[in-house]
């Protein structure tokens, strides 16, 4: 009994914890001009950006009339993004395709990179590499960009008349309408952050409890959730933009 527990302990200590340690809120800090940054987020985000740009450039560099392989896939993705933007924003969706598409692709590839890429091979002195979206900085950055985007969309479409939407049904709703501008980025960022962090935690905890087989369904569930979260973020961003562009009359 003692020997058994010891060996399990050792096994877990030596082998599994190096790939499955739970580290919540630990960051690998870099100093940049007196400011601190979370280096693990930056490193993984660079990798994600490199993956996106590289694969897109590779697949689209010489488009064929009859698409094959990579080009076909990227055309499918682009049509999907256009479809999402068009449904949410309406006929004037064209200029917003890059924003919505980049939101979707960046979040999606980030989430899946956290689940699929073997980041744990690379040891950091502090913290660990994971999906960039499990850091609150990333999700808040994206959510704030969304806020800026829908303000820009509304102001450029309707000028200062955009602000009349705050007293739109009745002026009584003014505080609630103003509150919405704060709850939108808040809910966007926390939804994404919480989902991705919780997903990674669940997988890690399950792996540390039962290393084999059992975590696999949860991992697949995590992949599914990651995709859904990316879609939700992009769709909501598009919906906010469309909402601020449409007429309230």
């Amino acid at each position: 009994m003692n020997v058994l527990s010891c060996s399990i302990n050792t096994l877990i200590k030596e082998g599994l914890y190096e790939i499955s340690g739970v580290e919540v809120g630990q960051h690998f800090y870099w100093q940049i001009g007196g400011f601190q940054v979370h280096a693990q987020v930056l490193i993984t985000s660079w990798v994600v950006i490199a993956i996106l740009l590289g694969s897109a450039a590779l697949a689209v560099r010489n488009p064929q009339t009859i698409p094959t392989g990579g080009q076909n896939f990227f055309e499918f993705v682009l049509e999907f993004i256009r479809d999402v933007s068009q449904t949410q924003i309406g006929e004037e969706y064209g200029p917003w395709v890059p924003f919505i598409g980049t939101l979707f692709l960046f979040i999606f590839v980030s989430n899946w990179s956290g689940a699929l890429l073997p980041w744990k091979i690379i040891q950091l002195p502090q913290g660990e590499l994971a999906a960039p979206t499990n850091d609150i900085n990333t999700t808040v950055a994206l959510a704030l960009l969304t806020s800026v985007a829908y303000f820009y969309a509304g102001l450029s479409k309707k000028g200062l008349g955009y602000f009349s939407k705050y007293i739109q049904p009745t002026p009584i709703l003014l505080p609630i309408n103003i509150l919405e501008d704060f709850t939108k980025p808040l809910s966007l960022s926390f939804r994404l952050f919480g989902n991705i962090l919780a997903d990674e935690l669940v997988v890690v905890v399950l792996v540390s409890l039962v290393p084999l087989v059992v975590p696999i369904p949860v991992m697949f569930l995590g992949l599914f959730t990651s995709g859904i979260q990316a879609l939700i973020f992009a769709t909501l961003a598009a919906a906010y933009i469309g909402e601020s562009m449409e007429g309230h009359h």
């Binding site: 010891c6 050792t10 030596e14 919540v24 940049i32 400011f35 601190q36 080009q71 980049t102 950055a141």
Partner: protein, 216 residues
């Protein structure tokens, strides 16, 4: 170190009380199987005066981690906003413009162009279908003309043959009639001859009868 862990049934107590080992093998935070064990040691050595559960767990984490780790743990936060946020914003905007240059615009334009070409081709295909209809009508007209011609020729031939047949019929009828007349005439003649012969015989016979009846 693995050996020492193997040898002891409570490896964590020995770990937490020993000098600081390397970072990799140390528990850093929530490592589930190891949490309950060192409570007694850490409590007795460090946190005797505290009684609440949260303080205990804090002390536990502090006792587990080496001093540098403990410092980091104090700093460790979920909601730790710093320069990462604007950097991610800049990175995102860069990614957006780069992807627009590399992916959305070129591929989007390409797809739109191809869509236009396909629509054009479809439209031209519809045009040729009109042409096909015209040709079809022409063919039908040609067929109609040919049919009419054939019908006319047939009618003409029918008429000609009918005329011919009627002519021959008339000729035949005349011939038959002439023969009939001839036969009738010869019949009359024979009748008269026979009657004449009978008349002459009647005279002779009546003379004979008179001779026989009248005794002379």
């Amino acid at each position: 170190m693995a050996n020492s862990i193997m040898a002891s049934s409570k490896p964590l107590i020995s770990l937490s009380s020993s000098t600081q080992p390397t970072r990799v093998n140390l528990p850093k935070s929530i490592k589930l199987p190891q949490i309950p064990k060192p409570i007694s040691s850490s409590l007795s050595s460090k946190a005797l005066s505290f009684s609440s559960a949260t303080v205990k767990s804090l002390a536990l984490i502090a006792a587990l981690a080496p001093p540098s780790m403990a410092e980091a743990m104090e700093k460790a936060q979920l909601f730790d906003f710093n320069l990462t946020l604007p950097i991610i914003v800049v990175e995102f905007l860069f990614l957006m413009f780069a992807l627009d240059k590399v992916y959305y615009s070129p591929l989007g334009n390409f797809m739109d162009k191809r869509d236009g070409e396909i629509k054009e081709k479809l439209a031209s295909v519809k045009d040729t279908s009109a042409e096909v209809k015209e040709l079809d009508e022409q063919a039908a007209a040609v067929m109609r003309a040919a049919r009419a011609e054939i019908a006319a020729a047939l009618n003409k031939m029918k008429k000609e043959t009918q005329v011919e047949v009627e002519e021959q019929l008339a000729v035949g009828r005349k011939k038959v009639e002439a023969e009939l007349q001839e036969a009738l005439a010869s019949l009359e003649k024979q009748k008269e001859e026979t009657i004449k012969a009978l008349d002459s015989q009647i005279a002779a016979l009546s003379e004979d009868i008179v001779k026989k009846v009248l005794p002379s």
